[in-house]
Chain length 106, copies 2
DNA sequence: TACGCATATGAATATTAACGCATATGACTG
DNA sequence: CAGTCATATGCGTTAATATTCATATGCGTA
């Protein structure tokens, strides 16, 4: 990598994170959580995904520490342990909106 | 999507963007560009990827408007039209570093 | 302890994306 | 205008990832 290259830190870690966020349904799940803690059944309802599929994606997010499960009786509530992530998503969203005015991202 | 859900804007567009950033080699390419414009041959050298592969990823980035080609004689120089993207990457990087201190993202 | 509901997991399939090879295009140079 | 260098593209193969179905687990309650 050349001398003027931008230091992106660990490309491997960054791409792992982006890969998690790149799946539309995972993104939906994160957004549906927002700042609240919700049981899986809620997530299933608001995302309109199959139970299996939600569970599958929650596992990925959980293993990466992007969501945190907390059992309450028969239910398991999920939340974002660090809401700062939502801010970052918002930043990207804004950038995308600005960016789209000029170039077109499909 | 429920009333308290976080508004992520267009999940589709966001995920398209993240998918582009999720590929380690594409990320490498972006980082190797940094703020400078460089010919493809430079990128090939600094990323140590095959010519075909670099060209393949550049196409994806180009079509999304994340990089912009500019012909100079026999060479085609690529640059980031909006360096703000690097700042966003940096934000994620920092978040990741902070985040890792507590949870472990694999 | 037996049953029902909430969630997780395993296995099989479907879909998508990366990569390399061969070849094409487009520009400069003699 | 023929040859060479830089880059792009089409195609086939392989690898990764999402999705579903069927089933298991774990908690609460009768």
């Amino acid at each position: 990598m050349n001398i003027n290259a931008y230091d992106c830190g660990s490309v491997k870690h960054l791409s792992t994170l982006f890969k998690l966020l790149a799946e539309p349904n995972r993104l939906k799940i994160l957004c549906s959580l927002g700042l609240e803690c919700r049981p899986v059944s809620d997530i299933i309802e608001s995302t309109e995904l199959s139970q299996t599929n939600v569970s599958f994606h929650l596992r990925a997010l959980r293993e990466a520490g992007l969501v945190k499960p907390e059992r309450k009786g028969a239910f398991i509530y999920y939340c974002l342990p660090d809401p700062e992530l939502l801010r970052l998503l918002g930043d990207f969203r804004h950038w995308l909106e600005e960016h789209q005015k000029e170039k077109t991202i499909v």
